[in-house]
């Protein structure tokens, strides 16, 4: 049993608690419902640990500041919601290209555009993966409880430092604004990953030359290592010029993540793992599905609920394994069918139709509705 303490806190609060524990010392942000508490609490807490919380003029600047702080040698993060996440897409590409470790929280609300600021939604599923331009990859984690907001934030910082990438926590209004008990382990009970910095003589250092795991060493600005950091396609030495190296570099920033998915990919199954009926969910909807599984059990219905915790890169083989033997697959999500499309791609069995139980408009589905769906759509 780990040592620590238990506190009742908001999902958004749990995120801050974990970030500070993980060593985050810079927050660049802009307030937006329903993510604002993260900025508010950071602005109170960061100065107490010699950190810096900066409210920028908008979300573009917020994430660019985070990228700068990251290159300055600091663990850095930001948080936002739909409209702000749109503005951040350019800088997400920048963070990917200059391989700046950072954490971006998106507490989803209704869209498109300003949408419904106080309502929950899961419509940014694809935007989190494909919102910026060009070929790239990143990691997206989906918490469903305040505890997972905490755990995933620790994990996000560790993965961002391990792979030198932006890691996105794709939360939503229900998770951000739920208050519940969170177990906060003592710092010595947790593992924290730090980026690897160069120790070779300065003249021998090549800035984007990867180590064996595909990730280059990362110097901190102003420590003497030559650090040309540009957003354009680049050679190993960080400058433009060598087209072949530039192409290799693009392949590498994708493969450094996707060749190592077994280090972080996570899919959970709740309920009867052999049941022919399966729900597939991510984020807050997992909780309603779990209750539906329990209610179904009371009525003699066997159901399994497959919960995709790391939605990007999509864990194809884990999802396939979790759904093996299922005859009826219902994807439940708060959008018009995004996870559904991934499940259709992964489960290619003509006899199985991938059904969609969808809620939009800020309506969080009730467990009874899952069972009604199973009955009515039979």
């Amino acid at each position: 049993m780990k040592k620590g303490r238990i506190k009742v806190m908001l999902g958004n609060e749990a995120c801050v608690e974990a970030a500070l524990l993980a060593g985050c010392r810079f927050y660049g942000g802009y307030p937006i419902t329903p993510a604002t508490e993260i900025l508010e609490i950071m602005s109170r807490r960061l100065p107490l640990v010699d950190g810096l919380c900066l409210q920028m003029e908008d979300e573009i600047a917020a994430l660019v500041a985070v990228v700068g702080a990251s290159w300055g040698g600091t663990k850095a993060m930001t948080a936002t919601s739909g409209p702000g996440f749109c503005l951040m897409q350019e800088a997400i590409g920048l963070a990917v290209a200059v391989e700046a470790p950072c954490v971006i929280v998106n507490v989803q609300r209704g869209g498109p555009a300003s949408g419904q600021s106080t309502s929950t939604a899961q419509g940014d599923f694809y935007q989190a993966r494909y919102g910026s331009n060009g070929d790239y990859s990143l990691i997206v984690l989906c918490p469903s409880t305040a505890q997972e907001m905490f755990d995933h934030t620790i994990k996000a910082f560790n993965l961002s430092e391990r792979f030198r990438i932006p890691v996105i926590i794709l939360s939503d209004e229900v998770v951000g604004h739920i208050r519940e008990k969170v177990f906060i382990p003592d710092a010595d009970q947790l593992t924290f990953v730090e980026r690897k910095v160069p120790t070779v003589p300065m003249e021998e250092f090549v800035i984007f030359k990867p180590e064996e795991n595909g990730v280059p060493l990362m110097p901190t600005f102003n420590t003497g290592y030559k650090s040309p950091v540009i957003s354009q396609a680049k050679s190993l030495n960080g400058n433009r010029g060598n087209a072949k190296e530039a192409v290799e570099n693009i392949r590498r920033i994708v493969s450094k993540i996707e060749d190592h998915m077994d280090e972080f990919a996570e899919v959970q199954v709740y309920g009867d793992e052999k049941a022919e009926t399966a729900f597939v969910t991510f984020g807050s909807v997992c909780r309603a599905a779990r209750s539906a599984v329990d209610m179904g059990k009371e009525k003699g219905l066997a159901i399994r609920s497959v919960e995709v915790k790391t939605v990007w890169p999509f864990p194809d083989h884990l999802v396939r394994r979790a759904l093996a033997g299922a005859k009826r697959i219902v994807v439940a999500e708060m959008n018009l069918g995004m996870l559904q499309r991934e499940i259709e791609r992964v489960i290619r069995q003509p006899e199985i139709k991938i059904e969609l139980f969808s809620k939009i408009g800020g309506i969080y589905p009730q467990p009874q509705e899952f069972l009604r769906f199973l009955e009515e759509k039979r």
Binding site: I6, K7, V8, T33, P34, S117, T118, S119, E173, V174, H177, I178, R179, E180, K181, R287, A288, R290, S291, D294, Y364, Q366, P367, Q368
Partner: protein, 189 residues
């Protein structure tokens, strides 16, 4: 055991705070889990406003109320909008009878608490009606935890209003002791 409680009224009464206080109390009960969700947005700043609290000895999955055991109404508007969520046979309907005239007789389990009236009369401050109501209902929500409630209330209100709130809380508790409904505590599943 899973107990679902809905607090509802209008924005500004401190409805959400009631839910937050009950949730925070659960830090003192290691065997109980709790979730607190709230209606969020313009509704909490003037319109009908609600917070759902779920207490359970098991892990809580669905974090909102779908079959409330207790509903606490603190405005007529909230009663009109949300009474339909109550089960006429099973849900204990508690209401501030200063602001709500009556609950239809179809609802079998009711408890009237003059929270706003007492807050105005006794304490010359209707701001403490919510705390009075908590005092009057804690035995029906989580029996035997008045002392913990007192501690959490004290740390949840501004220092200069602490004494006033504690007095209101105790007055509410006294009201419960002298007027408690026949069948209590509320049935739990």
């Amino acid at each position: 055991m899973r107990k679902e409680i809905i607090f509802t009224g209008f924005g500004g009464q401190g409805i959400i705070l009631m839910g937050v206080i009950i949730a925070r109390m659960m830090e003192h009960f290691p065997d109980l889990q709790v979730t607190q969700a709230q209606s969020y947005g313009p509704a909490s700043r003037g319109g009908a406003c609600r917070t759902d609290v779920v207490i359970s000895d098991q892990q809580i999955n669905y974090p909102k109320s779908s079959r409330p055991d207790v509903m606490i109404f603190m405005s007529e508007e909230a009663r009109k909008r949300l009474l339909s969520e109550a089960d006429p046979e099973k849900t204990l309907v508690i209401y501030d009878n200063t602001l709500i005239k009556e609950i239809p007789t179809a609802y079998k389990k009711t408890f009237a608490v003059p929270a706003t009236g007492e807050a105005e009369k006794e304490f010359k401050n209707r701001m403490v009606a919510n705390i009075y109501m908590l005092g009057a209902t804690i035995e029906l929500i989580n029996p035997g935890s008045f002392d913990v409630l007192k501690k959490i209330v004290a740390s949840s209100v501004p220092k200069k209003f602490e004494e006033l709130n504690i007095k209101a809380l105790e007055a509410g508790y006294e009201y419960y002791r002298t007027h408690k409904p026949a069948e209590s505590p509320a049935a739990s599943r």
